[in-house]
Symmetry: C2
DNA sequence: CGACCTCTTGAGTGAGCTCAAAAACAGTGG
DNA sequence: CCACTGTTTTTGAGCTCACTCAAGAGGTCG
């Protein structure tokens, strides 16, 4: 099943059109530079939910900018234990790693139908050479991801279940807010099963379930049917000591 | 105590001398470029053990390359819980973050006497502009750190105490090995107290102590008096599924 | 030789896990 | 519209790994 193939858009310049301008890697670029980008034949691609962008230990010669949808990065140990490293949201960059020839140590899988902008590795490197500003921006993006990983690390190492969950909810809420207003009342669409929360937070689904109920009964937040509702933002912040504006959107230079 | 001040070396070009050539940020640069670097008046600095390079929530206008010694990056929550994010070893780059104007969300503190190469922020950015290759290398370094954070994350989320400790020991062993041969027999000098291990691995000192005994009694590894001995490398690898060559030393371009 | 760390060991507790099974839900095909 | 099947959520009961509290032992340094 899911035999729907990756759809390649014929006109590559489409990719440099409206959506691109909103994306992190290109955000504050001059239109000059944007135009130059398009020379690199950015391929756009759509994948169904569940599709694997790249699998663990594989070698990849592509990197991606996520346009639409959610992707999870995860790592599986030999005996099947799984750790979700990151939920990638629109605007995030995927597949960049220190040694581009080495196998990746995690897998990337779509949680919803996704749209991606694909950069062949050679193309990416070429772009860096021609537009050093992009390399600097890449460093910035990677540093931002690292800061998020550090946050995540602190959660797993030093917070009990309730705080981990609260923290994740606030993070998701904030990340989605910076990319456009979210309707607090209607709730935030979050395509995560309890199993995903468990694998991201280092807990079991069963315990996630109980903790979810706890948050619900405390009137802090609910997650039902793929809709996250932040009921008491302040209350969640007090639990976690979360600070907004963690991951500045301003560029380095 | 520890009132010994930061010692600034008079001759800045010293910093571009012998030690620099071994460092990650500059490693495969042409001597041309190396020379250019020195124009930026790299200041070298020595600090005693326990010195704070920068503290949590402060704004920093410097970044560092670590020459000698160990540094820990850690984050402290309001109620005092602490998470060590990373142990920085010689060659590592410190203080680079997405928004260089924003406060850092972690602190950096020397675990041993250290020697650093200091880059003023302006100087670093200037270097990036003049030598885009450095920006690319910066992205590479950051991606490598992120990969290590992901490893760490997997440990905290999905491994029991014994495996976390074994994994950390293997990581330290490997990272030190790539920067020069280590004497397996004599053991590896590791300036970590049990408290550090606990804060890095999300456990208590007491439990670290018991787990350490467990590894010792299984003949896998010992840590006593600041000396780490890997007694059964293969055994540790089997526990953790650790793979060498995780963080390639090859550059991107 | 105190004073102060750091390490070690014991005893009891608890947050989160495992095992087990029911209930809700979403498709799917008749 | 309804059985039929698979997935996800929910709840219960018991267990364990890691935590807390407490105290002793071993170093180190002024």
């Amino acid at each position: 099943m899911n035999s729907m193939p990756a759809t390649a858009i014929a006109d590559p310049t489409q990719c440099g059109g409206c959506p691109v301008r909103r994306l992190a890697l290109f955000e504050p670029l001059s239109t000059d530079q944007l135009a130059a980008m398009q020379a690199h034949r950015l391929e756009q691609r759509a994948l169904p939910a569940g599709a694997v962008l790249y699998s663990q230990d594989s070698r990849i010669d592509e990197t991606y900018t996520l346009f639409q949808g959610w992707v999870m990065l995860h790592r599986t140990l030999d005996d099947g234990r799984r750790q979700i490293l990151q939920f990638a949201l629109p605007g995030d960059f995927l597949g960049f790693q220190p040694d581009l020839n080495a196998p990746v140590f995690h897998a990337a899988q779509a949680l919803t139908p996704v749209t991606l902008c694909v950069f062949k590795r050679e193309s990416l490197l070429q772009m860096f050479r021609e537009h050093p500003m992009l390399a600097i921006r890449m460093a910035w993006i990677t540093a931002r991801d690292e800061a998020m990983a550090h946050d995540h690390l602190t959660s797993l190492g030093r917070r009990p279940a309730r705080e981990r969950l609260a923290h994740l909810f606030l993070e998701i809420h904030q990340r989605l807010s910076t990319r456009g207003p979210v309707d607090e009342r209607a709730g935030i669409p979050v395509p995560l099963k309890q199993e995903h929360l468990a694998d991201a937070l280092g807990l079991t689904t069963i315990h996630i379930n109980r903790t979810l109920r706890l948050l619900r009964e405390s009137g802090l937040a609910t997650l039902r049917g793929g809709i996250l509702r932040i009921l008491d933002h302040q209350g969640l912040v007090e639990i976690t000591g979360y600070r907004p504006d963690r991951f500045g959107t301003r560029p380095i230079l």
